[in-house]
Each structure stands twice: as structure tokens, then as C-alpha cells.
């Protein structure tokens, strides 16, 4: 934990990602002033030129694809007192895990054809990993993209020396609090009952079912969720397919 009264030094890093989560940080707009008032941002490629390797808190965006990424990530872990995974790619592998359904050779062939990549470390890829698959992660800011308010909460907690509260209840909780009519009752399909909340049920509130971008709760009842998806009209294959977009990493644990 940080010492109260001393501005923690914060650095942002990106791996395989769209950098949309870092953009969300920049999008804090007027609150950015507050942010830099309570923390000292020493590295943030998306927003500034300066860089320092001396930092307390590392925010890491993106998923880990190559041995060279692992090495860089381990270095970051060694330097940081606190490491926070930022966004779905970092937290659960995210969209990038879609390619884990295929062999690495197949994926390379599809993307790069017959190009010669032998011995080139940039193309030396393995199956997509989340940050937590490689190093210890202290806190997670979930979502695709992250929710700015939640990021602010996490930063505030860390600056105050408190443990950030990350929900371990499903999206249904936030959806019900909003008074929404259930997506299933509107003829849609939703992973909300097994997906970790914190997004304010933004997708169901705007009429589309949850895709699970925040990953699953600690103990999701995926068997029951699959039965519900089937009951409302999906074939089992399509119900399982719902987990592909963001939650592919959980598929080995879905027993059905």
C-alpha cells in the first residue's frame, strides 16, 4: 500500500490491445486534473513524451502474446509495488483469446501467409495470455473498455491506501437496480447472470445483452446459464458460443 501524503508514481504500459482503455484514462477529461493532482504520472505513452522506470503503480493494458512480452511484463512487475491490470485484454485475455481456438501455426498462416518469420522475435507468438497468467496482479480494472468511474475509484482507493472494491456479483444486480426489463424477456440473450458487474449494466440498459467483457464472477453457475440460454431458444452450440468473444479462457471450465 502507498504511504498517505506521498504522491504515488504511476506508469501506464500497453501490450496487445487497441489502447482504448488508456484512451478512457485520457477521456477522464476535467478529472484528469484531479488525477495528476493525487498521483505523479511518470510514463504514459498515449498521453505524454516523458518516460521513467521509477514507479510505484503500474497500470498494464493488453494481453500477452510472445516471450518478449513476458520478459517485459516481468520487468514491470519487478519495478512496481502495485500492478493493476487494465481492461479485458489484460484481465482475461479479452478479444485476443479468440485466436486460441486455432493453432499458432494456423493463425500465422492466415494473417501473414508465406512471409518468412523464422527467428524474428516479433512474430514468435504463443496462445494469448492474460497479464495474471504471467505475473501476480494486485488489482483488476475490468471491461472492454474500462469504466472511467471504476478506474477513478481504484486510483482513489490506492491513493488513500485502501483496497479497491471490485464487485464479485453479476451484472443482474446493477441491471435490476436500474429497473430494466430483463433482456431475456425482451427476446434477447445475455451473459449478465454470470458476468462480473461494475459496468452499471450499460449494455442491457441500452438494449443489448451482456457479452461478458468483464469476465465471469468468482463462482459463476455456467451450467445454469447455459440451460437458461437454451431454454430461451439457443442451441447448446450457440449458447456456448456466447462465451467466445470475451470469455474464451473460461470455456475449459464450462462443464456441459
Amino acid at each position: 500500500m502507498m504511504r498517505p501524503g506521498v504522491k504515488p508514481r504511476v506508469a501506464f504500459f500497453d501490450f496487445a490491445s487497441c489502447e482504448g482503455c488508456q484512451l478512457q484514462v485520457v477521456n477522464l477529461e476535467e478529472s484528469v486534473i484531479d488525477l495528476i493532482d493525487i498521483v505523479n504520472v511518470v510514463s504514459f505513452r498515449e498521453a505524454m513524451k516523458e518516460h521513467s522506470d521509477d514507479y510505484d503503480i503500474a497500470f498494464v493494458e493488453g494481453s500477452i502474446m510472445r516471450p518478449m512480452d513476458e520478459e517485459r511484463l516481468k520487468n514491470i512487475r519487478n519495478r512496481a509495488k502495485i500492478l493493476v491490470a487494465l481492461g479485458a485484454c489484460a484481465c482475461i485475455g479479452g478479444i485476443n483469446t479468440l485466436r486460441n481456438r486455432y493453432s499458432v501455426e494456423h493463425v500465422k498462416k492466415v494473417v501473414y501467409g508465406d512471409a518468412d518469420m523464422d527467428g524474428n522475435p516479433f512474430f514468435d507468438v504463443f496462445h494469448t495470455k492474460a497479464v495474471g497468467d504471467v505475473v501476480d496482479v494486485d488489482y483488476y480494472v475490468h471491461g472492454c473498455p474500462i469504466n472511467r468511474d471504476e478506474l477513478a475509484k481504484v486510483v482513489t482507493s490506492l491513493a488513500l491506501g485502501k483496497k479497491p472494491e471490485i464487485p464479485n456479483y453479476p451484472v443482474c444486480v446493477e441491471c435490476k437496480k436500474k429497473g430494466n426489463v430483463c433482456i431475456f424477456e425482451r427476446g434477447g440473450f445475455c451473459l449478465g447472470p454470470v458476468t462480473r458487474a461494475g459496468c452499471g449494466a450499460i449494455c442491457p440498459t441500452n438494449g443489448s445483452g451482456c457479452e461478458g467483457c468483464r469476465g465471469l464472477v468468482d463462482n459463476p453457475n455456467t451450467d445454469s446459464e447455459l440451460e437458461v440460454l437454451e431454454k430461451y431458444g439457443l442451441r447448446l452450440e450457440d449458447a456456448l458460443g456466447k462465451f467466445d468473444i470475451f470469455c474464451y479462457r473460461y470455456k475449459g471450465e464450462i462443464s456441459k
Binding site: T156, L160, N168, V173, K177, N221, S224
Partner: protein, 343 residues
């Protein structure tokens, strides 16, 4: 008792909206469901609703509410917050009126909760007898299909007019000020009684035993296999809690602004079906498995709160049953099965 012609009722509601200082909310359609929301005009009001997505509880115990504000910048300052928007709520079914009464009892108990009670005191509750009944509702079995208390005014549709029961001086004053009414004659009274007598027959769901046997049945079925069997499909999503008009558990959190100067202490709805509900600071969880959480809700509604307050804290609205995706939350099914187990 008064009679208000349907045309005059529309005028009455529109006058409340335009002339009264309080905010007027009522039942409106949302897709093919119904919700309580602010009324822009009487045309939006749907007194033929079966049940609303959330109960009017949301106005007296908001999903998230600020309890106090603090300032850490110089000397520690703290101020209690009790934000009250006085309301006139039009169209509350009897079971929800009784639920609000139960909530009041709970929030008055031990340490009276000003945030809840002040909202209630400043609001006018206009009830309405059920024209349509949700297929999941079993209010008739819980004795909550009709009520003689808990409202300022109670409306019953008797064809060309509403039969209005007066529940309080405030309700009567509201009519005097804004409505053209007449006194009921014998024909009105007969029609009113026919409507009231017809309500119980509209329910498809029924308990197979008198509801007051429930605490004793639950006392004998704590170790029933039913809990684990049903809970196997439980998503632990808390939907049954969150839509319940008598669930009042909440979590309290301090939310400090990014500037680390100001912040608020908020309370927000919680639910005993959620995994972390009974988790304490050391990480110990007193109801770790789905089955114990699943059982707890039924025990609390039918037995624990009965022991403490003398009422069964289920009003038979059926919201939990309709909100439960794996279809395991229906109290009628659970309680009827338990009754058979103890026969």
C-alpha cells in the same frame, strides 16, 4: 367513500401534475411490462397493470442513496444527507402497500431510519385494486390481495367511475382540492363489492394451506433436501432479492472523489443470494454455498422476520418468480412442496 367519474379522474391527475408541488409518479408501460415513473400527463397512467418491474420501494429505499457527505481537505467535516423528493404515487396494488407498511415497521425498529421514514412521511400513496393479476402472483394466499390500510386514497375501477376509499386526512384534502367527486349511492357500493369479491378468483397461483402455517412448516424443513436440489440451478444473481418489495438489506460504502477532498457515504441494495453477502472482514463466509443462501431467503421471509415482527415478509407479488431465469424462486412451489414434506 367518494365517487370520481373517469373523465374527472383524468382531470384530477393532470391537476396534480400541473398544480401540486409534489412530483407525481404512476404506473406506465415499458415495452409489455410496467414501471413506476414520473408522469408527464394522465394519459400515461396504466391502472390496468398486472405488476410492475420494481415496487414503489425504490422511492423510499432508493437503489443507491447518499447517507452523508464528508470533506477531508482541512478539518474533517461530515454532514448527514437526507434527500427527499415528496411524491404522489398513483396506482399501488394492495400487496405493495402492505409491503411498504412492513418496510416502515422494519425501518422504525431499534434505530429509526430517518432516510426511509422522511421520504414516506412526505409522500401520498394512492392505491388501486387489481384489475389484472400477474400469472406469478399469489397475493390472495398471503391475505394481501386487498387491504383496508396503508393508503391515503384507494381507487377501484367500477366501470364508468372510480370508487375511492379515504385512508387519511391528507388523501381527503387532496380530493377536496383537486377533484370533482360525489358520494356513492347503492349502485356504486354494489358494483364496488362485486369487484372486490371478484379479485381473489383471478389468481392462478395458490398456497395449498393457510399462510399462517408457514413459520411452523419452515421450522420443520430446515434440513430438507429441497434447498440443495433447487439451489443447484441458482445463478446467485440476487434478482429475487432485488425485485422484492420487502427485501431491505443494504451495503454501505465510502466513495471519495478523485481529488481526495470530498466524498460520500452511500448505501446500495444488497441481497442474501449474492455470494459475498455474508462474507466478513477475515474472508470467512457464513453462507458460502448456494444452498444455504437459497434457503436463507425463504427462511427469512417466512420464519425469521415473523419471529421478530409478527408478519410473514412475503406479500405474494410473484416478482421473484417471474424474475428468476432458472425458475427456482417461486415461493408457491417451494412452500407447497415443503408443506407436503411435513404432512
Amino acid at each position: 367513500m367518494r365517487i370520481i367519474d373517469k373523465k374527472d379522474f383524468i382531470e384530477f391527475v393532470n391537476l396534480l401534475i400541473t398544480k401540486d408541488a409534489r412530483t407525481v409518479v404512476g404506473v406506465k408501460a415499458k415495452g409489455d411490462k410496467f414501471i413506476y415513473d414520473e408522469l408527464a400527463s394522465a394519459d400515461e397512467l396504466r391502472l390496468d397493470f398486472d405488476v410492475t418491474v420494481l415496487s414503489p420501494k425504490k422511492y423510499f429505499m432508493p437503489p443507491t442513496e447518499t447517507l452523508l457527505e464528508y470533506d477531508l481537505s482541512s478539518d474533517f467535516k461530515v454532514m448527514s444527507v437526507n434527500e427527499v423528493t415528496p411524491l404522489i404515487i398513483i396506482g399501488i396494488h394492495p400487496y405493495d402497500l402492505i409491503a411498504l407498511q412492513q418496510m416502515e415497521t422494519v425501518f422504525r425498529d431499534t434505530y429509526p431510519d430517518a432516510n426511509h421514514l422522511l421520504k414516506l412521511e412526505r409522500s401520498i400513496l394512492i392505491g388501486t385494486n387489481m384489475q389484472n393479476v400477474s400469472p406469478h402472483s399469489f397475493a390472495a394466499s398471503m391475505g394481501t390481495a386487498t387491504t383496508r390500510y396503508g393508503y391515503d386514497l384507494m381507487l377501484t375501477d367500477i366501470g364508468d367511475s372510480y370508487y375511492v376509499e379515504l385512508g387519511s386526512d391528507r388523501g381527503e384534502e387532496l380530493l377536496e382540492r383537486y377533484a370533482r367527486v360525489s358520494m356513492p349511492d347503492e349502485s356504486h357500493k354494489k358494483r364496488f363489492e362485486a369487484v372486490i369479491n371478484g379479485i381473489v378468483g383471478k389468481f392462478q397461483k395458490k398456497l395449498n394451506f393457510p399462510a399462517d402455517e408457514l413459520p411452523a412448516i419452515l421450522a420443520k424443513t430446515y434440513d430438507s433436501d429441497l434447498w440443495a436440489n433447487k439451489a443447484e440451478k441458482c445463478l446467485s444473481c440476487g434478482s429475487c432479492n432485488l425485485v422484492c418489495p420487502t427485501c431491505y438489506c443494504f451495503d454501505v460504502q465510502d466513495v471519495t472523489e478523485l481529488n481526495l477532498r470530498k466524498g460520500e457515504r452511500i448505501r446500495t441494495w444488497d441481497g442474501c443470494l449474492l455470494e459475498d453477502f455474508a462474507k466478513v472482514a477475515t474472508g470467512e463466509n457464513f453462507r458460502e454455498d448456494r444452498a444455504s443462501r437459497y434457503r436463507h431467503r425463504f427462511m427469512r421471509k417466512g420464519k425469521f422476520l415473523h419471529e421478530r415482527f409478527g408478519f410473514i415478509a412475503c406479500v405474494g407479488c410473484g416478482r421473484c418468480a417471474s424474475g428468476c431465469l432458472p425458475d427456482i424462486a417461486d415461493p408457491v412451489e417451494v412452500y407447497n412442496t415443503l408443506k407436503e414434506e411435513v404432512l
